[in-house]
């Protein structure tokens, strides 16, 4: 009971051995496993945080892209509208000018046609007049005396007739 002897040393050795054994077989492995799990969980948390951050970045990126896309679309539509307007204006003005030209041409043609007709009528009228005049003259003058006059007249009227035909 109240003995203090060599057994004290034995007990100390016992305790040291027990400590080493417990450290090796109980606390060592268990704490190692718990640390490993802790590290794993922390790693997973870090991964999750990184993934979330990445996702947020992508989201903002997409939002930006969407915004610019909207603006681009607006621009494109605006541009198309302006282009269409100018094109429309151009076509309309072209059409107008062409129509003007056509009308002008038509008018010119009409005028020249009328002139032609008039001239034809004039030459016919002149022919008629000559015929009539010849008739009148033939009745009044003789055959030889009047031959000169006739030729002269013919020449003059023939010239006029030639131009008319062309």
């Amino acid at each position: 009971m109240l003995r203090v002897d060599i057994n004290l040393v034995f007990t100390i050795i016992n305790l040291l051995v027990l400590y080493l054994l417990m450290k090796k077989f109980l606390f060592g492995p268990v704490v190692a496993v718990m640390e490993k799990r802790k590290a794993m969980i922390e790693e997973q948390f870090a991964n999750a945080a990184a993934a979330e951050k990445n996702a947020n970045e992508l989201k903002s990126q997409y939002e930006d892209t969407l915004k610019t896309a909207n603006a681009d679309a607006d621009n494109i539509i605006q541009e198309a509208k302006t282009t269409a307007k100018t094109e429309y204006d151009r076509i309309v003005s072209d059409a107008n000018s062409q129509a003007g030209k056509i009308i002008e041409n038509a008018e010119k043609t009409v005028v020249s046609q009328r002139e032609k007709t008039l001239r034809g009528l004039e030459s016919q009228i002149a022919g008629l007049a000559i015929d009539t005049a010849a008739k009148v003259i033939g009745e009044q003058a003789g055959s030889l005396d009047n031959a000169k006059l006739y030729d002269e007249f013919l020449n003059k009227a023939g010239d006029a007739h030639d131009t008319d035909i062309n």
Binding site: M1, L2, R3, V4, D5, I6, N7, L8, V9, F10, T11, I12, N14, L15, L16, V17, L18, Y19, L21, M22, K23, F25, L26, F27, P29, V30, V31, V33, M34, K36, R37, M40
Partner: protein
């Protein structure tokens, strides 16, 4: 009366036949038994530890170990973390040693040899932790702090601390043992069971707790003062 005295004495179980015979006491042998049981238990429990999906057995083990760690970390602080395995070992050992009376063994803690050994180990650990944390200079300096006047008291503490640890544990276990034996002689039936619950289980575990708690406190003092 003779039987009571015999119960109180820690007999020499066998003698190693060197240097004229070294007697190995019963306490040492019972300690060996405790060690063997603990190691076998550890080997059984610690097998197949898994990081993921731990089994029920492992969860219980981890809860117990982390409970011990949390309990001691509160006492010894962050710097004293490395002494937790030793403190836990001592706590488990004293707890089992105090309870082993229930299984018909003589508690090793009833022998002054064992409690003295525990106390010596404790004071060595406390002073070692002080040297480890502050260096030899800082450790020597810590004896004249906070004022050189109390240096003698600090030096005396070197002996008072382990002595009080040793005697507290020894006295409690021995006292409980004596009371239980007397009670068994006076009232052999039923009553000892009730008292056994208090003296063997409650007091035994309280003493284990007190021993490691105080050792942890001393370590914390030695480590954190820097």
């Amino acid at each position: 009366m003779n039987s009571l005295l015999e119960e109180l004495n820690c007999e020499t179980v066998f003698t190693i036949p060197v240097f004229g015979g070294i007697g190995v006491s019963e306490a040492v042998v019972v300690t060996w038994i405790i060690m063997a049981v603990l190691v076998v238990l550890c080997l059984c429990l610690v097998r197949n530890l898994k990081v993921e999906n731990p089994g029920k057995k492992q969860l219980m083990l981890e809860t117990a170990v982390s409970g011990l760690y949390n309990f001691f970390e509160e006492i010894v602080g962050e710097k004293g973390r490395r002494y937790i395995p030793y403190l836990s070992t001592v706590a488990i050992y004293i707890g089992i040693a105090n309870l082993i009376g229930l299984f018909g063994f003589k508690p090793p803690t009833k022998a002054l040899n064992v409690t003295a050994a525990l106390a010596v180990m404790s004071i060595i650990l406390v002073e070692y932790s002080g040297i480890h944390a502050k260096g030899v200079k800082g450790w020597v300096k810590s004896f004249v702090e906070p004022s050189p006047i109390i240096a003698p008291i600090n030096v005396m503490e070197l002996f008072i601390k382990p002595l009080s640890l040793c005697m507290r544990l020894f006295g409690n276990v021995l006292g409980a043992f004596v009371i239980m034996e007397l009670l068994k002689i006076v009232v052999p039936l039923f009553v000892p069971v009730v008292f056994s619950c208090y003296f063997d289980i409650f007091d035994g575990l309280i003493q284990a707790y007190v021993f490691v708690f105080l050792t942890g406190m001393y370590i914390e003092e030695a480590v954190e003062e820097a």
